[in-house]
């Protein structure tokens, strides 16, 4: 391989480090106004009155829009394709706020600072309504009737045949709970819109994961034809799934349409945490049955997920959690019941891994418990149960292809010196500091196959100077997928990747595509780029043959040049061929292909950690961390390592410190600031060793599979395993904050 497998920076690293990259919040257009939101301070209420007079008096304030002077029409942030069935529950500004942070009004001002200052001058009078802070409240009927279509969404399904249980089997019931967490992309949620009333055209810029998905929501909401909406993906300052739903785009689109002026809306950190989207708290009760020799026979899971005030993607998320339960272990029977329960809390939605990390927490906890009861080594127990090549995903009836989870486990076991490290924990511990070693593993998907519109279109063109353009609807989340496509196209064409230009999502310029989620960018779009590169080579050869007056099969393409096989001195460069195409044949050297994903291989990781728990303070330090991943083929190892290390920081934080759970129960007010929401900093984050197992899959580009989500899947579960090993506890929740650890130790001492 000439280019694949070398280390590259992200494509726009230099612009970013110069501070010249334009993120959506940096965009300024003439006549632009700025919005700042007024949000509900109560978890459930009716707005009786809004007094904007003091705000309107402020110089620079253009107007105040609110629930009484704007549309009552509703949208769903998650209905980004026709086949997603989800009720429309959300208004741009609501008179019936259903959580603290729900949008009630907005100040529109000539500059952002004025807009924010004026928000404090708006007085809202509410009539308070009973609120559900947890799914239990909802199931007890506290908010029956809040949404006409109901407040509970339930899935029940069985796959496989329930095997006979016998007396010697280990039958265990476990519970796992996790708190509400937030993405903390460093760039807050932001959108800019500009409506041209003459053309009836609306342009929206936002860091999003699907320009066509956003367009679907906005077009239907504003009743503007699809082809009159130009949705542009701006440089993304991190998403982690938080920017995949259509939250601000309909708001700015509507306001720009209403005011006939460009509008910019950047949420504050508090806004991103409470008004946008977060990861759902959930609780799962799980029954697992193992034979005495450690073979997992069946799993039965009952999950309750708190969807927050609007169901959004939660109904799909809780279903997917059940489907993810078969992506890592092979067993004969799964019974799943999942409920997404509406509450009066911030809206839950997509988060990196889309339920797979939560599923890993549940199943890996059950595995560790079973290993103890069966008196088996936890890795041994997993090796008896993980899926192998040839296994079939019972939900999608497709193979996992060349899955390498066993190798991840055995490689990691050796590299981490597992037995030795585990044994030494006791001698390294003292009265105060307890050392523990733990591990977990997990699997994920590669694209949507066989569901949804999982196709990609790629168009390549050679310019007159020989430069190659790849027109594709990509959405780089900031982890380097543009660079990945450059490398893939460079490898196929034998051209320096830096010289290839790759487009990102823009519905006026780039082809239809469902978007960049579900770890489909590299696997699906990358494969489409390979296919298009091959088609471009054929077109180049065809064009060159006409120019040189020789049969096509007498020519060979190599690294941007074509030569006659029998006479290599006779050659043409891409530049010459493109010019000939334009001026001799009146054509463009331009090809376009469609690619439909044919598979959904398994992709896996096994993680190992050593932690130190300070029993005086409850603080946990992650001392060592190893992540082993089955990647198929590493297109750009440098970015893969960075992504894995970032995922470990995120997963450790979520396991140990991150929680939005209200400090004062009953108020509906979650943690809403980074002062109280603790993300691991550089001093607390572990050093992470990353090992990649490369065995090319049969499908992805050069056999590559996704990494961005799967690398996050086992992290929190690994930390739970290690902390429980250190303390001899059975903590079945996250985050394991110092308070909770100390409380537990206190109880144990009594």
């Amino acid at each position: 391989m000439k280019y694949v497998g070398k280390g590259y920076s992200i494509h726009d690293a230099e612009s970013k480090v110069r501070g010249i990259t334009t993120y959506a919040g940096d965009l300024r257009l003439s006549r632009m106004v700025h919005m700042a939101l007024v949000t509900s301070t109560l978890p459930h209420a009716i707005v009786k009155e809004i007094d904007c007079s003091a705000a309107l008096e402020m110089p620079g304030v253009v107007t105040v829009l609110h629930c009484f002077n704007t549309t009552e029409k509703k949208f769903s942030r998650y209905k980004r394709t026709r086949d997603i069935e989800v009720p429309e529950q959300e208004r741009v500004f609501t008179d019936h706020p259903m959580f603290v942070g729900d949008r009630i009004a907005a100040v529109i001002a000539e500059d952002p600072a004025t807009a924010h200052l004026a928000v404090n001058r708006i007085k809202v009078t509410y009539e308070e309504l009973p609120a559900a802070e947890t799914p239990i409240d909802t199931l007890n009927g506290v908010i029956d009737g809040m949404h006409p279509e109901g407040v509970v969404y339930e899935w029940v399904f069985d796959v496989g045949m329930s095997p006979a249980e016998n007396e010697t089997d280990l039958v265990q019931e476990t519970t796992f709970r996790n708190d509400r967490v937030t993405h903390v992309a460093m760039e807050n949620h932001v959108s800019v819109a500009s409506y041209d009333e003459g053309l009836n055209e609306l342009t929206i810029w936002s860091p999003n994961q699907s320009v066509y998905g956003m367009r679907y929501v906005v077009a239907n909401y504003l009743e503007i034809p699809f082809n009159k909406i130009r949705m542009i993906k701006s440089t993304m300052g991190g998403s982690f799934g938080g920017k995949q739903e259509c939250i601000l785009e309909p708001v700015v689109g509507y306001v720009s349409w209403l005011l006939k002026r460009p509008v910019s809306l950047s949420l504050t950190r508090e806004g991103s945490m409470t008004s946008a989207v977060c990861r759902a708290p959930l609780e799962s009760k799980t029954r697992t049955v193992f034979s005495r020799d450690g073979k997992l026979k069946s799993v039965s899971m009952d999950t309750i997920l708190d969807s927050g005030a609007y169901v959004g993607s939660s109904h799909g998320y809780v279903r997917t959690l059940g489907e993810m339960a078969v992506r890592n272990y092979s067993y004969s029977y799964l019974h799943y019941r999942g409920r997404a329960v509406t509450t009066n809390m911030p809206v839950s939605g997509g988060f990196r891994g889309w339920s797979s990390p939560e599923c890993a927490l549940i199943l890996e906890y059950a595995m560790d418990q079973a290993a103890k009861k069966l008196d088996m080594d936890p890795i041994e127990l997993r090796l008896k149960n993980v899926i192998t090549e040839g296994d079939i995903d019972p939900f999608i009836h497709a193979t996992f292809d060349k899955t390498r989870i066993s190798e991840c486990l055995t490689t990691g076991r050796e590299r981490f010196n597992w037995y030795e490290r585990r044994k030494r924990c006791v001698e390294l511990s003292d009265d105060r500091f307890k050392i523990g070693v733990g591990m977990a593993c997990g699997g994920h998907i590669n694209g949507n196959y066989p569901d949804g519109a999982d196709f990609s279109i790629v168009n390549m063109r050679v310019d007159e100077d020989g430069a190659v353009n790849v027109n594709v609807t990509l959405h780089d989340h900031g982890c380097g997928t543009v660079r990945v496509m450059q490398v893939i196209a460079g490898e196929v064409l034998g051209i320096d990747p830096e010289k290839i230009s790759i487009r990102e999502g823009d519905t006026y310029q780039t082809p239809e595509d469902v978007g960049c989620y579900a770890s489909r960018s590299t696997h699906v779009i990358g494969a489409a780029v390979v296919k298009c590169g091959e088609a471009l080579i054929s077109a180049i050869l065809n064009q060159a043959a006409r120019c040189m007056g020789v049969p096509e099969d007498s020519l060979k393409y190599d690294s941007g040049e074509v030569y006659v096989k029998s006479d290599p001195g006779k050659r043409m460069t891409l530049k010459e061929i493109a010019i000939a195409a334009h001026y001799r044949f009146q054509e463009s050297l331009d090809v376009k292909i469609q690619y439909r994903s044919p598979a959904n291989p398994g992709v896996h990781g096994a993680h190992f950690a050593r932690v130190r728990v300070d029993t005086w303070t409850g603080l946990v330090t992650v001392q060592e961390y190893l992540a082993v991943h089955d990647i198929g083929r590493a297109i750009n190892p440098s970015m893969i390592v960075g992504q894995v290390q970032g995922a470990v920081q995120m997963g450790c934080g979520i396991a140990l410190t991150e929680t939005m759970t209200p400090k004062n129960p009953g108020t509906g007010r979650t943690v809403n600031s980074l002062r109280d929401y603790h993300v691991l900093n550089a001093f607390e984050s572990p050093k992470v060793e990353v090992v990649l197992i490369e065995d090319p899959s049969n499908y992805g580009p050069f056999g590559a599979k996704g990494i961005g989500e799967v690398c996050f899947v086992p992290v929190s579960a690994t930390i739970v395993s290690a902390v429980n090993n250190a303390l001899g506890t059975d903590f079945n929740f996250i985050p394991m904050t110092p308070d909770k650890i100390l409380d537990h130790l206190k109880v144990r001492r009594q």
């Binding site: 480090v17 990259t21 919040g25 903390v184 390592v641 290390q645 970032g646 980074l674």
Partner: protein, 159 residues
């Protein structure tokens, strides 16, 4: 109030500025230096870090009334005659940059460290950026980038 200060080596003055106007707004809105980013507005994330009189500061916490006569360097002021600063180069070549939103702050925080302490240990680097959140990278490549710039041997201390 009136305000005079230096930004990236150039004198700037305001005839009539609100004493409570934040430095980040002066930079981003009044001077159009959009490289400096706002991640929290309350001194918790470090995305807005700039160098003021040789020290890394959160520009979201400083107000116009605290700035008279100060010398500010922002991310836009690091490259000299178009050439990246050595530290900026190191961030690029070490793969330390992903989404990039934390980067202006991260680069300025570590630049301030290097200005004060040209050969920091790994622990000193991690300490210096303890107030700068990066949600993408896990910090390792950032730390390696900074270590590569300084002259002294690597510190092997555990973090």
């Amino acid at each position: 109030m009136k305000l005079t200060m230096t930004v990236n080596g150039q004198a700037v003055s305001f005839e009539n500025i609100l004493p409570t106007r934040r430095l980040i707004d002066i930079l981003r809105e009044d001077l159009q230096l959009k490289g400096t980013k706002e991640g929290c507005g309350e001194g918790e994330c470090g995305a807005c870090t700039v160098i003021m009189d040789g020290k890394a500061v959160d520009s979201c916490l400083l107000l116009a009334c605290q700035l008279e006569g100060s010398e500010i360097i922002t991310i836009e002021g690091l490259a000299k005659e178009g050439e990246l600063d050595e530290l900026q180069e190191a961030f690029v070549s070490h793969g330390a940059i992903q989404c990039g939103y934390c980067m202006p702050g991260m680069v300025m925080a570590t630049k301030a460290l290097l200005m004060e302490n040209p050969a920091p240990t790994e622990a000193e680097i991690r300490n210096a950026i303890a107030g700068n959140i990066c949600r993408c990278s896990g910090y390792s490549q950032i730390v390696s980038a900074v270590l590569s710039v300084k002259g002294s041997p690597e510190d092997v201390e555990e973090s």
